[in-house]
Every structure is written in structure tokens, then in C-alpha cells.
């Protein structure tokens, strides 16, 4: 086994050096390809006749694990990456939310990680990730991308100007959390699509009468789902920039709208209109309910509408529903036309050049094209001058599942058109409609310095725990709503104000930097 591996590695090296030799001798055409950084803009649009093959390298990549498109080692995206950059990607996946921290702590770090900005900014300053701002010259395409997208650059830059990761872009729309409903059931019983939470309640009651063992309305992220309900009540539950007073941090849980939301959910729970085990529901339980006529209104990622529709039978069908108004004067869904996921490079990587080359490739025009569409003949054909995916790819998720397109770290800047070209009318309609209802501000907290973060870390942990357990108890009726004021008081006692103030300082700094 071991010997075989060794031989193949040696073989690969020999072949690679032969290739390099050939192309060097063929490179007398005067084409300068040695350093792409010299002529950044033109080089990447060149055809496959790149005269010198880049050195062969292998990169270990740690990503999250998604049930709906479990990673496969033979995904075509990794093959294309290999063809274009001569880099072999070895993908490893998380086993749980602690995997990233453990990978860093163990010292056996992969070369590349998928990370959330929060993790990048926490572990980066400690020395886990490379400060990419110092290497932008080696990554002309990344540089170009960031210049074109200052709002993305801003979210990934630490207060000191360091960049511990590069954020993905292009597929933000896929993160939209939208309401949808069973239009066939609604039509059958002549029910109107609810436009307010009151109507959601009334409709759910009628459905409960018609289907006594159903839970007409369901959601599957436990207390976390309140983040998706919030915009129908004018807030996000945690700290965010207040759309009513730009530049000010707001703590949504203390808003009157938030209380109204919890009251609704409490009523839904008491009357068994939402699943009684909503705190412990997972994806599987949720799909089962949707697929077996146990729920008729729900909130989920926009892509799930079609994923579920393809599983439903006997005329059952799901359709996008505008968010119902709960409090205030306009109902929204969480703002999501941005991506909250990025790629970081290990500070200990032994393949720095390859890692930078990889990042540069996935943000280049050519990389964007190949990693979004694949290759002509292999994944798509050109019909009437337009690209069309081959018939075996039926829905957007097939691209992810079968080819690895648009999966974590397999793209930098995605061309969403590729995904939309496979959408059916119903899904196109969902995207079009959903875009109209986005909350004006993002549900993200501004970037903190290391010092600021350490100062509030313990308070935030307590705040989150107290908030989660209290809200859960209000909803299941263990704590009566009359105790709401003491809940607010307690949040203050824990130190909510200090956290708000800290984020305010950070937001001010951010606004200052933009000017």
C-alpha cells in the first residue's frame, strides 16, 4: 500500500517535470507566463495553451458537511481544479461544530479551511490563519475582486487591516430564509394566503380542524428560527444595525416587537399549531412532516422549496409565500444577498504558493466560469448561443450533489446564473419575489478587535444562554408572559448594555473607515 503510493508520487513527479520540460521548450513563443502577477488582468482569460504547467501540489481542505450534498472525492470540481492549476484538493469534513477549533488546537492543520468571519477573526489574531492582506500581490484576481466589491472586503477585514479569510460571493440569494406553503391544500379548502401573523394563526387553526393530527406551521432551527421571524416584527433578536436609526446598534430582544413575536409563538404552541417538540426537530424530522401532510406552512432556505417539491407526490406542491406582518408596518425576511462563509489559509501551511494560487484561481474570471458551469461537452452544451446544462442535471442541487459545483470552498466568486438556469418557473418566481422583502440591514455584528472581544466574551456567552432558555420557556409556557419585564431586567443585569456599547464602538469605527 505504502510502497504503491510512493511509486505513484514519484511517477507523478516525473510526469510533472516532463510536462514542465516540454512546455518550457515550447515556451519560446515569447509568452511570459512565469509570474501571473506581472500581467494580472490578461493572463487568466487565455486558452488552455498555457505554456508552462504550474508546479504540482496537494492541498488539504477542511469544510463543513452538508446532508443534501455530501462531499465525494471524485467530484468534477476537484478534477477541473487539478486540470487548471495542477493542485490536488483533498477534502476533509467537519464532524460537528467543534471540528474547526479542534483542528486548530491539535496542531495538525489542513492547508485551507472554510470559516465564518467570526471564527476567522477569533483564531486569526491568535496566529492560526495567514494574514492574506500581505499576499494580495500574489493574488491579482482576489485583489481585483475585492476592489470591485468593497462591501465584501469590508466585512472580511479586521480592525487592524488584516484579512484572515476571503469571503465567498455570488450565491447569497441561496441563503434567503423564506416562508412557503402547500398551495394545493390551500386551494382545496379555499384558504387565503395569510398576510399577517394574525391570519397565519387563523389559517393554522382552520387547518388544525381539518387535519387534527397535523401541526399546520413548523420550523426546524429551534430558538434560532426567531432570527428569521424577527424581520416580520421589525428586528433581529440579537445586536444589529438599526434600520430605523442607521449607525446605531440595536438589541432586538428588548424591542416591543420581539415580545409580540414570542406571544404569538406561545399561542401557537399552546394550541398545538406548531410541533410540540420544536426544540429538538432536525432536518429529517422536518422533511418527514412536510412530506407526509403534517405541516402546511413553514420557513426554510429558499432552495428547500424545490428540493421538497421533487419529493412530494400526488399533486402535493409547495409555493413561496410573502412574509406575514407581525408588528410595525412592513414585513421582511432576513437580508441575505451576501455570503457569510469564507476560506482561510493555515499559518502553518507548507504549500503557501499553492494555497495562494488556488485562491487566486477560484476568484479569477476563468475559475468563476469553470467552477460555476463546468466544461462544454462535459456538463453543458451550447444551444442557440446559450449555455444549457446536459439533461442529466435536472435541478440546481444536482450541480452540487453530482459535480460539487457551488459547494464549500469549491468556488470563490460564483455565477448564480448557472444555478438559476436549472430552476423551474416556481423557483424563479420564489427568487424574484423573495428579493423584494429583504430587511434593510444585515444580521451581523461589526468586527471587534481582539481586546474588545475578550472583554465581552463571557458576558455574551451568559447572555446567549439566558436569552435562549428564557425565550424557550416563554414559548412553551413554563414562564408566564407576565414575567417579561423581569426577563428584560435580567438581560441588563448580565451586562447587555456593555455588549451594545462595544458593538457601537466597532460600528462607528467601521463607518469611519468607509468614509
Amino acid at each position: 500500500m505504502k510502497r504503491k503510493k510512493k511509486i505513484s508520487v514519484i511517477g507523478a513527479i516525473i510526469i510533472a517535470s516532463m510536462l514542465a520540460g516540454c512546455s518550457n521548450s515550447g515556451g519560446t513563443t515569447g509568452n511570459n507566463t512565469e509570474a501571473p502577477s506581472v500581467s494580472p488582468n490578461k493572463e487568466n482569460t487565455g486558452e488552455s495553451a498555457a505554456p508552462s504547467a504550474p508546479p504540482e501540489a496537494k492541498l488539504r481542505l477542511l469544510t463543513d458537511f452538508k446532508d443534501i450534498y455530501p462531499p465525494k472525492p471524485d467530484w468534477a470540481v476537484w478534477k477541473w481544479v487539478k486540470e487548471e492549476t495542477n493542485i490536488a484538493i483533498e477534502q476533509e469534513t467537519w464532524t460537528g461544530p467543534e471540528s474547526l477549533a479542534l483542528a486548530i488546537a491539535s496542531g495538525d492543520m489542513p492547508d485551507l479551511f472554510t470559516v465564518f468571519p467570526y471564527d476567522a477573526q477569533k483564531y486569526g489574531p491568535q496566529g492560526a490563519f495567514l494574514d492574506l492582506s500581505k499576499h494580495l500581490d500574489q493574488m491579482p484576481s482576489v485583489k481585483k475582486f475585492l476592489e470591485a466589491k468593497p462591501e465584501v472586503a469590508q466585512r472580511m477585514t479586521s480592525p487592524g487591516g488584516e484579512m484572515y479569510h476571503v469571503l465567498n460571493d455570488g450565491l447569497g440569494a441561496g441563503n434567503l430564509m423564506v416562508w412557503f406553503y402547500r398551495d394545493d391544500i390551500f386551494a382545496k379548502h379555499n384558504l387565503q394566503v395569510p398576510t399577517t401573523w394574525d391570519e397565519v394563526y387563523e389559517t393554522a387553526k382552520k387547518l388544525k380542524e381539518l387535519y387534527p393530527d397535523s401541526y399546520p406551521f413548523s420550523f426546524r432551527h429551534g430558538v434560532g428560527t426567531l432570527r428569521s421571524f424577527g424581520p416580520q416584527f421589525g428586528i433581529y433578536p440579537y445586536m444589529h444595525e438599526d434600520p430605523a436609526a442607521p449607525g446605531k446598534i440595536k438589541y432586538g430582544a428588548t424591542d416591543p416587537g420581539f415580545k409580540v413575536m414570542v406571544e404569538y409563538l406561545n399561542k401557537f404552541y399552546q394550541e398545538k399549531l406548531i410541533p410540540q417538540d420544536w426544540l429538538s426537530m432536525d432536518y429529517k424530522a422536518w422533511t418527514q412532516q412536510v412530506a407526509t401532510d403534517k405541516t402546511f406552512m413553514t420557513i426554510q432556505y429558499i432552495g428547500q422549496i424545490e428540493i421538497m417539491n421533487s419529493q412530494l407526490q400526488n399533486g402535493a406542491h409547495l409555493k413561496f409565500m410573502p412574509p406575514p406582518l407581525g408588528y410595525g408596518d412592513k414585513a421582511y425576511i432576513p437580508k441575505a444577498d451576501y455570503e457569510d462563509y469564507g476560506i482561510a489559509v493555515s499559518s502553518k501551511t507548507k504549500n503557501l504558493d499553492a494555497a495562494l494560487r488556488y485562491l487566486d484561481f477560484i476568484y479569477s474570471d476563468k475559475g468563476k466560469d469553470i467552477l460555476s458551469w463546468g466544461k462544454e461537452g462535459e456538463t453543458y452544451a451550447i444551444e442557440n448561443g446559450k449555455r444549457k446544462f446536459l439533461p442529466q442535471f435536472k435541478e440546481p442541487n444536482d450541480l452540487r450533489k453530482e459535480l460539487g459545483i457551488f459547494t464549500s470552498a469549491a468556488y470563490g466568486f460564483a455565477d448564480i446564473e448557472a444555478s438559476l438556469s436549472l430552476s423551474n418557473e416556481n423557483e424563479k418566481y420564489s427568487f424574484q419575489e423573495a428579493m423584494k422583502y429583504q430587511f434593510p440591514t444585515m444580521s451581523v455584528t461589526p468586527v471587534l478587535t481582539d481586546e474588545e472581544r475578550n472583554a465581552i466574551m463571557a458576558i455574551e456567552e451568559q447572555l446567549t444562554k439566558y436569552y435562549e432558555s428564557s425565550v424557550a420557556k416563554f414559548i412553551i409556557g413554563e414562564t408566564p408572559m407576565t414575567q417579561w419585564d423581569s426577563f428584560l431586567e435580567e438581560l441588563n443585569k448580565i451586562g447587555a448594555q456593555k455588549v451594545i456599547d462595544t458593538y457601537q464602538v466597532a460600528l462607528d469605527r467601521l463607518k469611519q473607515n468607509i468614509k
Binding site: 410541533p275 429538538s280 463571557a458
Partner: protein, 303 residues
């Protein structure tokens, strides 16, 4: 008489020494070497500067833990879970062993024994998902039965007052059969003549159990008790973590889950180490105290 020198002894017993070596190595490598890691609880540990480069901060993280308003609740939850586990979980295998001992039908006895210790081999993840399914208010059959009897369904896993009972009961179910093996073995060492003598004196089955079997295994029981005390505060992380949710934090947040949240998810390694070391010290004190007590009351003790 002078005993032979150490070198000579080693040479003489080299076969035993060789057999012992792997165990010794195991303990040094996996139990003693990692102990040096606890120094990071007195430092502002930075993963990349390492132990030599990180700054010493003394008891800062210990103080931070006790300033935390949740500290008391977490310690209380851990201690209570441990206490209940000991109180109900410790006698269970003894009772089971005594009952099994009274069974005369050999095949039936073996069958019961096998079935009772099977759950020991189930992973906690499996046990937790079984519990979630069984106790579900909509589909679980525990609630079907409750509803069948005319009572309203109970959301067992969403009500914090149920958490401890569910945890302790499932723990007993998992461990009772396995734990009884040791006591059954101890029972077989009791001299049959004692039972004969008791029967001569007119003792029935109950009296025999009370006056022969129980005293016969008393030494084992005491040693097991002292060992269990040491484990009392080691509440298995996985099961608590898998069974808890936001609504039950009041009773289900224990040291292990707290350390997971702040230490691993948030990356506060020093802080988490401090808490764990503190609990380790308490566990050690408990074992020491029990051992002293037992030595004073009887002859049995660990050391």
C-alpha cells in the same frame, strides 16, 4: 533477612516486569504526561505561542469562573446529577445481582443476565436518539400510553424538571446489568458451608441473603462505592449534551457541557482547563474523604 537489591529483584521478576511495562507506559503517556497541560489554566494560553510563550496570569480564570452568575447553577447541576446517579444507580446492580443469585433456573438466569447487560454496549448517541423518539410528545409511545390512560402528553425533554429523572433512569438501564457481573462474581466466592450452616439454624432465603450473601460481598461493595464516588462528578458529556436543549438549561447545563461551549466552541482553552481542574480537585477530595471514613468504620479501604 536482607531483601535482594532492586536490580536483582528486577532480574528475577523480569517476566512480570515485561508484562507490566505496557500498562505503565499507557499510564505515563495518557494519564501523567497530559497532566502538564493543566498549567495552561494559570496562563493566557495562546495556541501558537505555546506553553513557553504564553503569559502567566495566576488565578485569573478561576476568579472569572466564580464571578460567573451561572457558576453556582452549573456546579449544582453537576453535583446533583452525580449524587442521584450514585444514590439510585449504585444500589441497582447489587439488588439485581442478589435477585439473579436467587434464580435457580440456569438458562433463564443466563438469558436475563445477557439481556440486562446488552445496553452497556450501546453508544450514548444511540441511547439519546432512542430516548428522543420514545419520549416525543407527538409520536413517542411513552406518551401514547400516557394519553391512552387519559392524561395529557408530557414534553419530557422540554421540561427541565424531568431532565434528571430521565438521565438517571436511562443511566441505570444502561449500566445495571454490566455492574451486576462484578457482584455476581463476588457472590460465587462465598463459602457454601455458610449457607448450609444458616439453613441448619433455620434461616430462610431472605435471612440467608441478609446474613450471609450481603456480608459476604460487603468488602466489594465498599471498594466499588469509593471508586464510584470518584466518578460521581464525571457526568458523561455526550448524553447530557444530546438530551439537553435551550428549555432545560436550568437542570441540564453541567460542567462538561459548559466547558465544551466556552472551551472548545469559543476557544477559551485556559478558562475551560481551570474549571475542569477545579472539578478534578473536588472529585479527589471526595474520594479521599470517603476512603478515610471507610477506614475508620471498618477495615476496607483503597489505601
Amino acid at each position: 533477612m536482607k531483601s535482594p537489591s532492586i536490580a536483582k529483584q528486577l532480574k528475577r521478576d523480569r517476566a512480570f516486569v515485561l508484562m507490566f511495562a505496557p500498562v505503565l507506559l499507557y499510564f505515563i503517556l495518557f494519564k501523567y504526561v497530559p497532566m502538564f497541560g493543566i498549567v495552561i489554566s494559570f496562563m493566557d494560553y495562546n495556541l501558537f505561542k505555546g506553553i513557553t510563550g504564553s503569559e502567566w496570569v495566576g488565578f485569573k480564570y478561576y476568579a472569572q469562573f466564580f464571578e460567573n452568575r451561572d457558576a453556582f447553577v452549573i456546579i449544582k447541576n453537576t453535583v446533583l446529577l452525580g449524587a442521584y446517579k450514585l444514590l439510585f444507580g449504585f444500589p441497582a446492580p447489587i439488588v439485581l445481582a442478589l435477585l439473579l443469585n436467587e434464580l435457580r433456573h440456569a438458562i433463564f438466569k443466563r438469558f436475563v443476565q445477557t439481556v440486562s447487560y446488552l445496553p452497556h454496549f450501546l453508544s450514548n448517541v444511540v441511547v439519546a436518539s432512542m430516548l428522543i423518539m420514545l419520549l416525543s410528545p407527538s409520536t413517542g409511545w411513552v406518551n401514547r400510553i400516557i394519553e391512552g390512560l387519559g392524561f395529557p402528553a408530557i414534553s419530557f425533554l422540554q421540561e427541565s424538571e424531568w431532565f434528571r429523572s430521565i438521565y438517571v433512569l436511562s443511566e441505570i438501564w444502561q449500566q445495571v446489568g454490566w455492574g451486576s457481573i462484578l457482584y455476581l462474581a463476588a457472590i460465587t466466592t462465598i463459602d457454601p458451608q455458610l449457607y448450609e450452616a444458616a439453613r441448619m439454624d433455620g434461616a430462610g432465603r431472605w435471612k440467608q441473603t441478609l446474613h450471609v450473601t450481603l456480608p459476604g460481598i460487603a468488602a466489594t461493595v465498599v471498594i466499588m462505592f469509593i471508586l464510584q464516588i470518584g466518578h460521581a462528578l464525571e457526568i458523561g458529556f455526550e448524553k447530557v449534551f444530546l438530551l439537553s436543549n435551550a428549555a432545560t438549561y436550568d437542570t441540564s447545563d453541567v460542567i462538561a457541557t459548559y466547558v465544551y461551549r466556552v472551551g472548545i466552541l469559543q476557544g477559551g482553552f485556559s478558562y475551560a482547563t481551570a474549571i475542569d481542574l477545579f472539578m478534578g480537585v473536588i472529585g479527589f477530595l471526595l474520594v479521599y474523604a470517603t476512603n478515610q471514613l471507610s477506614r475508620r468504620l471498618g477495615e476496607t479501604s483503597l489505601w
